[in-house]
């Protein structure tokens, strides 16, 4: 069996250790980067699937964690509430507002520090003023407060920008007749590690590429039985023989292992990661990946600096 393959048995996983553990005396990190391949399998405006081959789990996981918690975006941080007669409490309303994805280019903004006041370089201002009223004909107006009710008011220096909530139909609150919400909302730049509202992804995850081989030729009824067995429709029949048609769709449910007569061998390719990046809509998934790689690079550079300082410090 290939060393590169983890084997799925009916109750265990075998050969799971990674090949490139430092103690294994393997290649240098630069070799890994030279042999790495990145392929876009599927790309949509809001999500994307990519294959990264030739990397190790620590690197893949670093990339995933950076995408989730260190790529900056803009989100509502301060809520100046002037009026809230709705049933939803002030704090809960403020929290809900914070989670609305705001479409804005984070690179054009600076981080706001505690000393800074809100200005055109570090903040975005939205105004929200909705009052629910009962009209003469007994119908009710403004029963629902949606994210489209957030009105962007440009601060000095922001005249040429395009800023709005990503989705216009996020329900913020429900109002009864006479109830009113009036607020000023200040967006700031931040990262997901501080609060999830700044995370640019709904989720970024990876799984290992499955590998399925048939150790014998299956024909006729056996082939049909195997095809029927797999709910992910991995197997198909070609020229009367069972073949593995959609390897990628395998969920590793191990149903095909239950009947040992099929002779299916299941495995996972240990250095082939299938990433799935789902954006909140603020940044394109491709951009999130790029930003994450740049952040990882910067972290590596910082480490080199730290190591160099350490190296040149005389031992006491």
């Amino acid at each position: 069996m290939d060393v590169n393959m983890a084997q799925l048995k009916s109750h265990t996983l075998e050969n799971t250790q990674t090949i490139e553990h430092p103690s294994s005396g393997g290649k240098a990190l630069s070799d890994i980067f030279d042999n790495l391949t990145l392929e876009i399998i599927e790309e949509n405006p809001d999500d994307m699937i990519i294959d990264i081959k030739g990397i190790e789990a620590p690197l893949a996981n670093a990339l995933r964690r950076i995408m989730i918690s260190e790529v900056p975006t803009m989100a509502i941080e301060d809520v100046d509430l002037y009026q809230n007669t709705s049933v939803i409490p002030d704090e809960v309303l403020a929290h809900r507002l914070g989670l609305i994805p705001i479409y804005a280019e984070p690179e054009k903004f600076k981080y706001k520090t505690q000393e800074d006041s809100h200005n055109g370089e570090n903040s975005i201002l939205f105004k929200l003023h909705v009052k629910c009223i009962r009209l003469q004909d007994k119908s009710i107006q403004n029963e629902n407060v949606y994210s489209r009710d957030l009105i962007w008011s440009p601060l000095p220096g922001q005249e040429k920008m395009h800023i709005a909530p990503v989705h216009s139909d996020i329900l913020i609150a429900k109002l009864g007749p006479g109830q009113e919400i009036e607020a000023e909302l200040w967006c700031e730049k931040g990262i997901g590690a501080t609060h999830t509202k700044w995370s640019p992804v709904c989720t970024a995850s990876y799984r290992l590429m499955p590998s399925i081989t048939l150790s014998q030729i299956l024909k006729g009824e056996n082939a049909k039985a195997l095809k029927r067995k797999c709910q992910a429709k991995v197997f198909d029949i070609e020229d009367g023989k069972a073949i593995v048609a959609n390897m990628r769709d395998c969920t590793s449910c191990r149903e095909c292992l239950r009947d040992e007569n099929f002779g299916v061998v299941l495995g996972k390719v240990k250095d082939h990661f299938i990433f799935s990046i789902e954006s909140t809509g603020i940044l394109k998934p491709r951009r999130i990946l790029r930003d994450a790689i740049l952040i990882l690079k910067k972290k590596a550079r910082d480490w080199i600096d730290i190591i160099n300082v350490y190296k040149h410090t005389p031992k006491s």
């Binding site: 509430l81 309303l93 929290h95």
Partner: protein, 69 residues
């Protein structure tokens, strides 16, 4: 006791100012229809619009700041 405190006390102790306070109108928001109602302390608490008897205090002017977290 400081001068200011004493003067505050003596003012509110006067019966005439108490009387004025009783007649002072305060507005509340009806819990059913949202209409603003003005009451003195002697009025019956019934909404002019719908007759509902639960009222809410109005929010202080000036607003409050919350962290959206």
């Amino acid at each position: 006791m400081g001068d200011t405190e004493r003067s505050l006390l003596s003012k509110s102790d006067e019966p005439s100012s108490l009387g004025i306070m009783n007649m002072k109108k305060v507005s509340y928001i009806c819990g059913w229809c949202g209409k603003e109602n003005e009451f003195t302390s002697r009025d019956e608490l019934n909404c002019i619009g719908c007759g509902y008897r639960i009222f809410y205090k109005k929010r202080l002017a000036g607003g409050a700041q919350y962290e959206a977290r």
